[in-house]
């Protein structure tokens, strides 16, 4: 599910720092299982990844990560209410059919949600659209408009509005660039200079 440049995952280290040791974690769109393997090793979590691509299922099994083949667009009805400490979704929000429903489902299953997505409000995207007159193609968003899986791109502002409308509380927000660096400018103007947004959310 992840359409993000796989070589650079600036969001994973931050997530790892946020997770309490020994937690039960569900990772939506877990890709090759990198995050879960990392959380298992460094945070002693147990849990499952959901993934749609069979090639990634094979990689997860190879990495000894519990993975369940599932389509996030089909919903999460196989999971009961309040059964996970964290439900994580990295770089998949923008690729699902109904991000709003999935966010609500995440907080039905888990006590806390962690969401990361590429910020479409980043200055490079804005400049390309404004001066170039074309849909942005950047390091974090490398596909063209017609072949991208990112069908619901949003900015930090869009995401926060969606949370407010759905009574979702933002517990913590971090923005980083594609090298996992943060800067003074990013802190001051996150929606303009943050390339990747990382949020901790809870039910209000």
């Amino acid at each position: 599910m992840s359409t993000f440049n796989n070589k650079v995952r600036p969001d994973l280290q931050t997530i790892c720092e946020w997770i309490k040791p020994g937690s039960r974690v569900l990772d939506l769109g877990c890709g090759d299982g990198t995050l879960l393997a990392m959380l298992k090793k460094e945070r002693d979590v147990n849990g499952y990844g959901l993934e749609i691509e069979i090639s990634n299922i094979v990689k997860c099994v190879n990495a000894n990560v519990n993975v369940i083949q599932a389509d996030l667009n089909a919903g999460l009805s196989d999971f009961d209410d309040n059964t996970f400490s964290y439900v994580i979704m990295t770089q998949a929000l923008q690729a699902v059919e109904r991000p709003d429903r999935l966010l609500n489902d995440m907080l039905r299953i888990g006590s806390e949600g962690i969401v990361t997505f590429p910020n479409f409000g980043h200055i490079r995207s804005r400049l390309q659209l404004f001066f170039g007159g074309h849909m942005p193609v950047t390091k974090t968003l490398p596909s063209k408009w017609f072949n991208t899986q990112n069908i619901h791109l949003c900015t930090l502002q869009d995401f926060e509005t969606l949370c407010a409308d759905n009574k979702i509380k933002i517990v913590q927000r971090t923005v980083v660039d594609h090298n996992h660096r943060s800067s003074f400018l990013m802190k001051l103007f996150p929606n303009l200079f943050g390339e990747v947004a990382i949020y901790r959310i809870q039910r209000k």
């Binding site: 499952y48 069979i54 299922i57 094979v58 519990n66 369940i68 196989d78 059964t83």
Partner: protein, 382 residues
């Protein structure tokens, strides 16, 4: 018949039979005082008996899971795709065991065996055996092999049901469990198909209430019909369309009831060849075992509760076009396991082949299965 045996085959194998004389009480209330279990093994058991894998067979198969009985054999064992040196279930590393279940017709005590009380074949007097009974008999067999814990128990379809039952009845004796194209219980539609198959057999004039051995006949037509029906349900609509379409056998229709279409010819062939290798009473028994399987029934109809004591690391696999044991049924198993926080991975392989896909060399399927088995190889090699 092969001139030479393929290098990645276990080669020529011989079945063995083990006799049991400790009474086995069955779910139906009856019991066996004595019975035989026929089985095959492939690969070598290591010194601490930690590399043993039990294969559980499905409705119409038996203990002959891999290799050839003679150079004259037309086909190898039923899971040659997966079992052999260098294959997914690698006999270079594992000691693989497959036994013919009680009630079978390939050597283990079954309806054609002599009933010691009457000195005639059991026929319809053979007790109904359940998946739970089989697992109990398999556990006793395990004791005789001096295997304390199975490294893995693996099964497809009805075999997958036995794997589940093992995890309920003997959780401490299994380290890894693979449940392929299975279900936690049959649907009404599934039981319906089984009932039609049974009626076909029982209404054959040669059935003689199951005592056809004594009449020196075989309910050929009934068993053939049962198999033809079953075969349709093991394939998908797409698979049949792709394989046969509306292709005509003679190039034109005959305006009669002889075989016109290739699919008719194929089904008749499948049905007829099945009659030569399978016993009608065994078919009746196996379908009943399938129908009765519902381990959650003893746990308030809660499969999660039934599997709460499982300790194994699970792999569950289903096939997208399998409508007899649909992916939804496998997901019920996965849900019950994840409710208990058990280790489980699940793959839903996209294929057009239907239920029979679990016997076929399908890349995605073997890749996932192989990746999972790879950890077992490491476990026995370390």
């Amino acid at each position: 018949m092969p001139d030479t045996l393929p290098e990645n085959s276990v080669g020529l194998v011989t079945a063995q039979t083990m006799h049991f004389d400790v009474p086995l009480a069955l779910a139906c209330g009856r019991s066996f005082d004595n019975y035989d279990i026929t089985y095959e093994t492939y690969g070598e058991l290591n010194s601490d008996h930690s590399n043993a894998i039990l294969i559980c067979h499905a409705l119409s198969s038996d203990h002959h899971a891999a290799g050839y009985h003679s150079m004259e054999d037309r086909k190898p064992g039923w899971w040659e795709t997966c079992i052999g040196p260098g294959k997914v279930i690698d006999t270079n590393h594992f000691f693989v065991v497959c036994m013919n279940n009680l009630g079978g017709c390939k050597g283990s005590t079954g309806p054609a065996s002599t009933n010691p009380e009457t000195n005639k074949p059991y026929g319809p007097d053979f007790p109904i055996v359940t998946v739970k009974d089989w697992v109990e008999s398999q556990a006793r067999f395990t004791d005789k092999l001096e295997i304390k814990t199975w490294l893995a128990i693996i099964g497809g379809s009805l075999g997958g049901m036995q794997v589940l039952q093992w995890n309920i009845d003997f959780p401490e004796r299994i380290k890894h469990a693979a449940v392929i194209a299975a279900a936690p219980k049959l649907t009404a539609q599934n039981i319906g198909f089984n009932e039609v198959a049974r009626q076909a057999i029982m209404h054959d004039v040669d059935f003689h209430d199951g005592r056809y051995y004594e009449h020196d006949t075989v309910p050929r037509r009934g068993l053939m019909l049962a198999r033809m029906l079953g075969h349709i349900t093991y394939l998908s609509d797409d698979a049949m369309r792709e394989k046969f379409g509306r292709e005509l056998r003679q190039g034109k229709i005959s305006y009669g009831f002889d075989v016109d279409f290739q699919v008719e010819s194929y089904l008749r062939y499948q049905g007829e060849s099945f009659v030569d290798r399978f016993d009608a009473n065994t078919y009746l028994l196996m379908t009943k075992a399938l129908d009765y399987f519902d381990p959650a029934a003893d746990f308030d109809d809660d499969l999660s509760k039934a599997l709460s004591h499982a300790q194994a690391n699970f792999l569950v696999i289903s096939f997208s076009s399998d409508w007899r044991f649909a992916p939804e049924r496998s997901r019920e198993i996965v849900k019950a396991l994840q409710n208990n926080n058990h280790d489980v991975s699940y793959a839903e392989v996209v294929v057009p082949h239907g239920h029979d896909a679990f016997l076929m060399p399908i890349n995605d399927y073997l890749d996932v299965f192989g990746a999972w088995m790879g950890h077992l190889v490491k476990e026995v090699s370390s």
